[in-house]
């Protein structure tokens, strides 16, 4: 629809209270959004739900990162007096002879909670939940999700999962402490660890509700993508963001239920005396009655979700980065089709590599052969994506906005972390590196930092759409450079610990000679200090986020980044309910016509501009 003039001054809808009523008649469904509660809490609007996911994700990110500071403090400065933390951590700080030290049990609880929170609440819900919700309807040209109600429920189940997890931090026996993978028997027996009592029950319950949230969201994303694309928006014209969210939702739908089944059997073992995972256990001075189960079964079930889960985390980030790189380099994403096929290949392969987490678990060594082959094959589509991103920069006209910087940082992180995956996926090398700091370095860089960078790129890029204001770019750039250097400073040295054989999940390293070589304690202190600085920079980001949302520079141009995609064709910077007050725009071309002269003298052609005579649609060839 050419009748939408993207260049004209924006009718801004910054303070939600204005503007909204102006469009009241245009938006069917607004009767559900009329009160404060239905608008900000039980909202059915995908954009508000996206914000809810984002704010909740940010809350959990701060909690999860703060936990990591406490255990990093322990690892960097094991001899330090921690009594000053007692007001916060209470009896988890053991004070002896005037020296406060962290209870090892609580150390493990912190490690476990950090992993659980970051993997599920922040990088799954916070990332995929936020951007799938924000962008799927806006970029496809839909008024909302296929089912706004399920969408709302998806958020509130996530909220419930979070509330339960949060409450587990305060039970007297402590939160669950058996690692985010929750391997039985440790997770099944309260005798084995105090966190495996009530803490574990709450952990399981929380995750089950979380899976409900993911499934409700996923069904919605898939349905919306398949059925609610605007006229002309063929699958091959969808931006890569949408492809990524779509495939992510499919992976989630197929893998998360398996986690629930794993949890269910674990609950049976814990509560009903079944022996799915347990056999021949002597603990706490007595032999238990469990016979015939296998802890390995749990690991198979867990990693059948667990491995696709890392792609659930990284694919949305990849989609966002593809989009941001293209927009700010002013170039079409290189090899659009190859990018889509890579996403699909990664998705399929992600289901047949799970046992590479279990090479040393006692599975038949022959089975490892198959999983090594598939695991290393994943490197091929991943490499293709990296080359395509780099080629997208080639010949560009790059604007270094904060979003673009984080997108470039993402590519660097993905390369660094991806390459170390080639070591770990090779079972022979994994014998030595399994469960060492090499693994910690690998997955933090490739799915922790990289996914965060994707998330930041997305936030800086779509902040104008969410709030009608820009984020402060100077602070954004401080945030980027500090985080890029800082994140490498935190995780790069861990490779060396891993190559020296230092195991992960150790409360302290001086119990072994090989893990306390000279220089390692300095390295651990360095890592801890770097972690504190990186954390401070994220607080700076949050301050920037809040101040910019309230008082940032107002966006005057409806299409501030000169992007081709539909979300920038809404007549108001922050669209009202229903997104487009009039007819939904129709799509005439693919999403990546950057670097092409438009009739009005711009260097891009919006997706709503019809193809000229004889012009090829870029994505179709």
């Amino acid at each position: 629809m050419a009748n939408i003039d993207t260049t004209k001054e924006a009718i801004l809808e910054v303070g939600h209270d204005h503007g909204h009523d102006d469009h009241h008649d245009d938006h069917h469904g607004d009767k559900y959004q009329s009160s404060f509660v239905t608008r900000y809490f039980f909202s059915l609007d995908h954009k508000m739900i996206a914000k809810q996911f984002l704010f909740t994700g940010m809350f959990w990110a701060v909690i999860g990162a703060a936990m990591s500071l406490v255990f990093r403090y322990q690892l960097g400065f094991p001899e330090a007096d921690m009594e000053w933390l007692q007001p916060l951590l209470g009896r988890w700080i053991i004070v002896q002879d005037g020296m406060g030290s962290l209870d090892p049990e609580f150390y493990y609880a912190l490690v476990t909670m950090h992993g659980t929170i970051l993997v599920f609440f922040v990088l799954t819900a916070g990332l995929s939940g936020t951007f799938s919700n924000l962008l799927i309807p806006l970029q496809l040209g839909a008024r909302d999700m296929a089912s706004p109600l399920l969408n709302m429920l998806s958020y509130w189940f996530f909220f419930l999962a979070g509330a339960i997890m949060f409450s587990s931090l305060f039970v007297s026996t402590g939160p669950f402490s058996g690692g985010w993978v929750a391997y039985p028997p440790l997770s099944a027996l309260p005798q084995a660890a105090s966190g495996s009592g009530v803490g574990m029950t709450l952990w399981t319950l929380s995750l089950v509700f979380f899976v409900v949230s993911v499934l409700l969201g996923g069904v919605n994303y898939i349905t919306t993508v398949l059925n609610m694309r605007t006229k002309g928006m063929s699958m091959w014209r969808m931006p890569l963001t949408i492809w990524a969210f779509f495939v992510t939702a499919i992976i989630g739908l197929l893998s998360f239920p398996v986690l629930v089944s794993a949890m269910l059997l674990l609950m049976f073992d814990r509560g009903l005396g079944t022996s799915f995972y347990l056999s021949e256990i002597f603990i706490g001075g007595q032999a238990l009655d469990y016979v015939g189960g296998s802890p390995i079964l749990y690991q198979h079930l867990f990693w059948f979700l667990g491995h696709p889960e890392v792609y659930i985390i990284i694919l949305p980030a990849m989609g966002i980065v593809s989009e941001v790189l293209s927009v700010h380099a002013r170039k079409p994403i290189f090899g659009y089709k190859a990018m889509v096929f890579s996403i699909l290949a990664i998705a399929v392969l992600s289901f047949i590599v799970w046992a590479h987490h279990m090479f040393m678990s006692g599975i038949n060594p022959f089975i490892a052969n198959i999983f090594v082959i598939f695991t290393l094959i994943i490197a091929v589509p991943s490499a293709v994506k990296v080359f395509n991103w780099i080629a997208t920069l080639f010949g560009g006209n790059i604007r270094f906005t904060s979003a673009m910087l984080f997108a470039i940082g993402f590519v660097s992180m993905f390369i660094s972390g991806g390459l170390t995956g080639i070591f770990l996926g090779n079972s022979a090398i994994d014998i030595q590196l399994h469960d060492t700091y090499f693994v910690v370095a690998h997955f933090h860089i490739v799915m922790g930092v990289a996914a965060f960078f994707g998330m930041f790129a997305g936030i800086y890029h779509w902040f104008p759409k969410m709030f009608g204001r820009f984020m402060n770019e100077t602070l954004g750039k401080i945030h980027f450079w500090g985080t890029l250097v800082g994140a490498y400073a935190v995780f790069w040295p861990m490779h060396y610990l891993g190559m020296a054989g230092v195991p992960r999940r150790y409360y302290r390293f001086d119990t072994f000679d090989f893990s306390s070589s000279p220089g390692f304690d300095t390295m651990n202190q360095f890592i801890t200090i770097a972690a504190v600085i990186v954390f401070a920079l994220q607080i700076l980001f949050i301050i920037n986020f809040i101040i910019s949302a309230l008082k940032g520079k107002i966006v005057k141009d409806l299409n501030p980044w000169n992007a081709t995609t539909l979300e920038w064709t809404t007549p108001t910077m922050v669209p009202g309910h229903g997104n487009w007050p009039g007819a939904i725009p129709a799509v005439e071309r693919w999403a990546y016509d950057y670097g092409k002269d438009s009739d009005d003298g711009k260097d891009f052609i919006s997706q709503v501009t019809p193809l000229k005579e004889g012009e090829h649609d870029g994505g179709g060839h």
Binding site: S294, K331, K337, A368, V380, F387, F400, T511, L540
Partner: protein, 400 residues
């Protein structure tokens, strides 16, 4: 103290935020476009600077930590370890090349194609030839890595072949230590039943009715002869553990209810390995910080056994010393060992079941039968012979 820190941090935050706002404000005064262009150039240069600093830091830190690195400073102490280190090295070189090339391209392109006034980007959407090339090359490299990796893997994880000469020992993890069991003079490990475990005098639940158990002993350290194949039978008593010998490139989960194994051949005695470490810069300092003039780290070096699977709050402390000695020393050491049965059970009333064997009127008879019945149901006979034990394991895995 805490409040001072908090106030300082808050002040720093406020200052940084204000600086950010000031810069933006001054930009709008100076003319936005010009200021933006300047900022853009600064960040482009940042890309270039970061590239050099990052690569230099990577190379420098690798060199710095080489003395403790797998395959560089810390030589593999087992025969299979070298092939593993070699696979590691091949991967390191290949990924290193890719890492450096892609990073140079990424940051160099970012710098080179920074926005310039009046410049236009090139419209290239794809290039089939190029894309085929960069799909095929990684595929070929991966194939090579898979083949060489799996060759090593299958070699390393192979069980004892029939007719091979080897020593079998057993390691059992529990919260939070290891129990090591040697087969004794008969070279056979006796059967175990977890229901007979008793922390006082039968920590492994050995069945004393089984003669093979009577000479099994539980030493404090793992002592093994150099150059001879060892099969470690790995079990756990409560939760998962992992039998991890970093110097031998050996790691295997200890799983309750499912014995696992790892076969390896020690290559250097502890003494020989100390000589290897003699020139290693990271082994020059004093072994004990409080005694700067005492033994150096390489002189006090011992091979170590650690746990590498989270097993609860004492996970980080499951240390055992592994001593690799010459065959003669090993034989002498074997002679010094007394069997667990002889030391802790034999002849003790109420403890030694062999004292009351064949007494029909024994009070515990009923209970005893019960236990045997249990054993028939679920507990498989363990460790009569390594091959049988192995087929049991396979059977176990087949069930998953």
């Amino acid at each position: 103290m805490t409040t001072v820190i908090i106030i300082t941090l808050a002040l720093i935050a406020i200052i940084v935020v204000q600086i950010g706002r000031l810069i933006e404000l001054s930009a709008s005064i100076r003319g936005e476009e010009e200021a933006e262009q300047e900022a853009n150039n600064r960040n482009a240069w940042g890309m270039l600077v970061f590239l050099f600093v990052f690569l230099a830091a990577c190379i420098y830190s690798s060199a710095y930590y080489a003395p403790t690195m797998l395959g560089y400073g810390i030589e593999a102490a087992s025969e299979h370890g070298d092939s593993l280190d070699q696979t590691f090295n091949i991967t390191l070189v290949l990924t290193g090349i890719v890492f450096i090339i892609t990073h140079i391209l990424l940051f160099w392109f970012a710098y080179k194609y920074r926005r310039k006034k009046g410049k236009k980007s090139i419209f290239i959407s794809h290039d089939n030839k190029l894309e085929v090339i960069w799909t095929v090359i990684p595929a070929v490299v991966m194939t090579f890595l898979v083949i060489s990796g799996l060759e090593t893997w299958n070699e390393v994880t192979a069980d004892i072949q029939e007719g091979e000469d080897y020593t079998e020992i057993e390691a059992t993890g529990y919260q939070w230590a290891w129990i090591i069991r040697y087969p004794g003079a008969d070279n056979l490990l006796g059967t175990r039943n977890f229901r007979k475990i008793n922390t006082a005098n039968n920590p492994l639940g050995q069945e004393w009715e089984d003669e093979k158990n009577l000479d099994d002993f539980h030493p404090n350290d793992i002592v093994l002869p150099v150059g001879k194949k060892v099969r470690v039978r790995i079990t756990a008593r409560d939760v998962l553990h992992n039998f991890y010998l970093p110097h031998f490139r050996l790691k295997m989960d200890a799983v309750p209810g499912m014995p696992t194994y790892f076969v390896f051949t020690p290559k250097y005695t502890t003494e020989e390995y100390r000589q290897i470490l003699k020139d290693n810069p990271s082994y020059q300092g004093p072994a004990d910080e409080t005694e700067p003039d005492g033994k150096k780290r390489w002189e006090a070096f011992e091979y170590e056994l650690a746990c590498a699977e989270l097993c609860g709050k004492g996970h980080y402390s499951m240390r055992k010393v592994v001593r690799i000695v010459s065959q003669e020393e090993y034989d002498a050491w074997l002679k010094e060992q007394t069997s667990f049965y002889d030391q802790n059970v034999k002849g003790k009333a109420g403890v030694d079941p062999l004292l009351s064997v064949s007494h029909d009127d024994h009070g515990h008879e009923g209970e005893h039968h019960d236990e045997e019945a249990h054993e028939d149901e679920g507990h498989e006979a363990e460790g009569e012979h390594s091959e049988e034990a192995h087929s049991d394991e396979e059977h176990n895995e087949g069930g998953h």
